[in-house]
Subunit: 609 residues, 2 copies
């Protein structure tokens, strides 16, 4: 061993002890004939004092940032203590030292606030990983890993490894594929998730399975997606939805406790998908704050049980609202005093292409109880006040209103709500609010193919009381314009998403476990019998031999870590991430391969130039 | 939840309690109007009693093997107790029951001794996994996983995930590659191990890393290899060989303790590679028993310090020995009474093509002290006795001798030694003996290319006192016939293998951490500068920025589990293994993919028919 202690270990109580440390040179400070060096390792920083007697040796061996150094000396009290760090009361009076390795000058500083840009840090990721900020993220990631494993182990779950070289059954996202040398012309696929394997394990009787496992999706990468990502993947047999919800809110609470020291004692909220969409404009609402959406109009849609407050806006002759499919409002607390400049800026904000609204209407519900609005021409003050109060506004609040096509407007009001919360400091990084979103639609309508697609995945069961609806109806859609009237449009999935602070951190479902129902599902998605058997014959076969009722969930491990770490970017929580083009900048991968490899794999390049 | 208890939980102390169980029908036994069913789940088997009153319902719903059943009833004492199982004192008097799912008749019996052949069991792996024998293996695997993680965690190691989509740098085995859709004509590779990443993590200062991780090698599969396999992968910084040996024999001992309840208190033996080859004929000797090899001749070889007992056989005019490159012997305990038929059978055994010897010589060292041999014509009884005693024989033992070309003969004597131990019952499944094999040659000679290849991998450091030899000599081999005289032939690696009962379960090395030495190593392996930079530029670059001394080890997790489970086959310890052609028989993978996928990936098939 090159050391007797770490750089984070020695205290004033070790005074007088002899010690050997090894680590990296963080800083070198020379005061006349004596030199101070801060030596850094994974555990901390310790100050080294090189006395006059070492001056000559030091001059012969000039020390630089990031040199790897081994020193032996004795622990002594510092004259100039630094009480901000645990080792700040002591220093090592160096007797001998050895440079274990030199370092070139790093391309950026190894500090929390580095001067390195994103690309540079990715290329030199091995140096970026030395920064304390990144190290803390990876330590948090390991703590989450450990907490999840411990909880699941104590609940009787078994970690069972599923294969990585499987069969390509693209459905939704694209598969990454792997040419097989030994089976020319054939390919393996990398798993998008261990979904079918964990279901088979339930058929096999392993009734509580988990894995923290890499998954792969060949998607066009958005800002915060990675082609390979990690899931906490779980499945249970002989359970109903309620059992899964209880088990896994328990897991997340255990992670809060172990990793953040937070006792999350409150009941985890639950909300139907319809309520989430209706009241928050999206299916993963951030419920750390209010500003619920007031719906003033309803389009032909799946929100069958919802009633908009149409009477508040109708009959006023305001063409913008009258012509719109959807009209929505939120009450922003304490903003009635917004200046013209501020409301203009908000109007520009909603008109940006990412939001895509034509304009913004507002009502200032002043502290004195009066109302002022951009729509004064059309609505009396009483009407305005009624709208404001229906939106939940108090005197002093600002009501923001959007109108337009359903999908875009609903997304816009959700984005606006989040934006206002951000501006008002309502999205606190140290506050965590969990939410279950339930009762998703089982199917979505695919206009292009005039057919159904699975909202979650094809293994999700309908609600128990809708299984008959599914089995007894023909999935094909006769009249595309009236797809909403098809019985399948209203089938709800026995599925659940866990939402944390406005991010989906996990999702799952109770699965289909009957061959007949599974075949019906595949058929609804446009798979004929031959395709069903080619792609999922093994699963349909397994359902013939005593498949138990089962269900599960998968958590996005990268995202969960990022949120717990107070970041929105998962890349900061992955040791060696890829960039948005799916490239590893450090390795410079992907790359060309040898012709010999192509020949062995029985493939040829076919690049269109 | 579909149950209140598991099928392994209820005892006589639960008598009178109401309970709901769910599981699989193991057996149905009808006695007149009453029926007994054994219900099975992951936790055990519980007997169900269906009384006369349920007879009619049962007849209307005939029950078969592997049906999934939910029953509610009360716990009662059995009249006919089965004390072999923990639930054997009770049964459930069934009140109501529900068939949750039916089962077709399984293609083989779900029992320890199944009637299913290998192919059938692989195709229906989801049923095979229900068998208790397979379940125990996966439970053991999880226990080993857990024990390793707990030990490493307690020693300050961090689990850090490394990427799966990396760059192809084939060296030794072939890479599996993954075409990149977004980077046409380019490929990722799947890692053969996280080797370079764990080294980068050491450069980054994470001084204790581990991962239980899938690795991939596209090799022609031998009997017990899998294209994807799992490693316990570890790396430490600021360590020397001794630190690694201590740390990881600690890990294996902890696994013995946690998983098998074995206190492995004895010191783990150590042996140099030369001693292993010389004394046991291979580099992973099984030291549960003796029968060390007596060397009677030595070829021109790397065993420079070894002296054979030539005087015992020379000058006798026995042409077989005189003409042979290598002559070796082992003393098999207690077999001096072997009949002619038995020695003939052994002779046939060594003449099989897998062994490839021309014949077998033997000396019977009889209990009365006399010696009889197949070589009586050439050697006096005194000579024979001297050979026998040099081989470590006692009166009553049988000395077996082989002669021939070095490599084949050494392997043959090792195989013969193992075979005799097997026949004599000396390879006990419940006895575990660990061994470190040390001081491997750093290089092997590649005749075809007249160059060096790395015995371990190109990142292994030479012994500290041989670094200069490596740096200061030109690696190229002027005279192929005399390659053994090249200074590189005698450089020893700073590497170590852990051997358990004759199987290599782990191997590793102290790594090169200096750019100059790493470049020299790459050059010795025939890589020019351009190739070095293309393949390993990131690593050479990292060594410029303060790389610490470091080393590590990787354990073959599948193999370790198999040996601990008393099996030689790793397939039995993998949930979804592939067959020897690399196929998943259940999924029927690999398989063809859609033309659309090929087009998107910018590749074409090029299958030679």
């Amino acid at each position: 061993m090159y050391r007797t202690h770490t750089c984070g270990e020695l205290r004033i109580s070790n005074q007088g002890q002899s010690t050997t440390l090894a680590g990296w040179v963080q800083t070198v400070r020379k005061f006349g004939a004596i030199t101070f060096i801060d030596l850094r390792d994974r555990y901390g920083i310790t100050q080294l004092l090189f006395g006059e007697e070492l001056n000559k040796t030091l001059e012969e061996n000039p020390m630089g940032r990031e040199f790897v150094l081994q020193v032996t000396g004795s622990v002594q009290e510092r004259s100039n203590k630094n009480l901000n760090i645990p080792t700040g009361e002591i220093e090592i009076k160096v007797e001998t030292f050895r440079v274990l390795n030199k370092s070139a000058v790093p391309p950026f500083t190894i500090q929390d606030d580095t001067d390195g840009g994103d690309d540079l840090r990715m290329k030199y990721r091995f140096l970026d990983l030395r920064r304390n900020a990144v190290k803390k993220n990876l330590e948090l990631r390991y703590a989450v890993n450990r907490a999840a494993r411990n909880y699941l182990h104590n609940q009787g779950f078994m970690d069972i490894e599923t294969p990585f070289l499987i069969k390509s059954t693209p459905e939704g996202a694209r598969d990454f594929v792997v040419p097989s040398r030994m089976n020319a012309g054939q390919f393996y696929a990398l798993p998008q998730s261990p979904q079918t394997f964990k279901q088979l394990l339930m058929v096999s009787g392993y009734d509580r399975y988990y894995q923290i496992v890499k998954c792969f999706r060949d998607e066009d990468l958005r800002a915060d997606r990675q082609p390979e990502f990690t899931q906490i993947d779980c499945e249970m047999a002989f359970v109903e939805q309620e059992d899964i919800l209880n088990m896994f809110e328990g897991m997340v609470k255990a992670i809060f406790k172990d990793v953040k020291g937070i006792d999350y004692t409150e009941t985890v909220s639950r909300m139907t998908w319809e309520d989430a969409m209706w009241q928050y404009g999206n299916d993963k609402p951030d419920i750390r704050f209010g500003m619920k959406v007031l719906n003033l109009k309803k389009p032909a849609s799946v929100y069958v049980q919802k009633q908009p407050a149409e009477e508040l806006i109708n009959g006023a002759g305001f063409k913008v609202f009258d012509d719109a499919e959807t009209v929505v409002a939120i009450a922003v607390p304490g903003c009635s005093e917004y200046s013209r400049k501020q409301t203009d800026e908000l109007t520009e904000w909603v008109k940006r292409p990412q939001i895509g609204m034509k304009g913004l209407a507002f009502i200032k519900y002043n502290s004195d109880g009066s109302c002022k609005s951009s729509m004064d021409k059309f609505y009396t003050e009483d009407k305005l006040k009624a709208i404001a109060e229906a939106a939940g506004a108090q005197p002093g609040d600002l009501v923001l209103m959007l109108a337009g096509a359903e999908e875009r407007t609903r997304k816009a009001i959700s984005d606006l709500r989040m934006e206002m919360a951000e501006r008002l400091g309502l999205r606190r990084k140290d506050e965590f609010k969990l939410l279950w979103v339930l009762d998703f639609p089982l199917f979505e309508y695919d206009e292009e193919g005039n057919r159904w697609v699975a909202r979650h995945h094809p293994f999700t069961s309908p609600k128990p009381d809708q299984i008959d609806t599914m089995i007894s109806n023909n999935p094909s859609i006769e009249n595309a314009a009236e797809y909403l009237k098809h019985p399948y449009a209203n089938i709800k999935a026995n599925a659940y998403d866990m939402v944390l602070n406005g991010n989906e951190i996990g999702g799952g479902s109770i699965r289909i476990f009957q061959r007949e129902l599974q075949e019906k599902m595949f058929a609804a998605l446009g798979m004929d019998e031959a395709e069903q058997l080619h792609k999922f014959g093994f699963l349909l076969g397994a359902f013939e031999y005593g498949a138990p009722p089962h269900g599960g969930i998968a958590f996005g491990f990268d995202r969960l870590c990022a949120i717990l770490g107070g970041s929105e970017s998962i890349r900061d929580f992955i040791a060696f991430p890829k960039n948005n083009a799916g490239r590893d900048m450090m390795l410079d991968a992907p790359a060309t391969i040898d012709d010999k490899q192509l020949v062995e794999l029985s493939i040829k390049l076919d690049v269109k130039s």
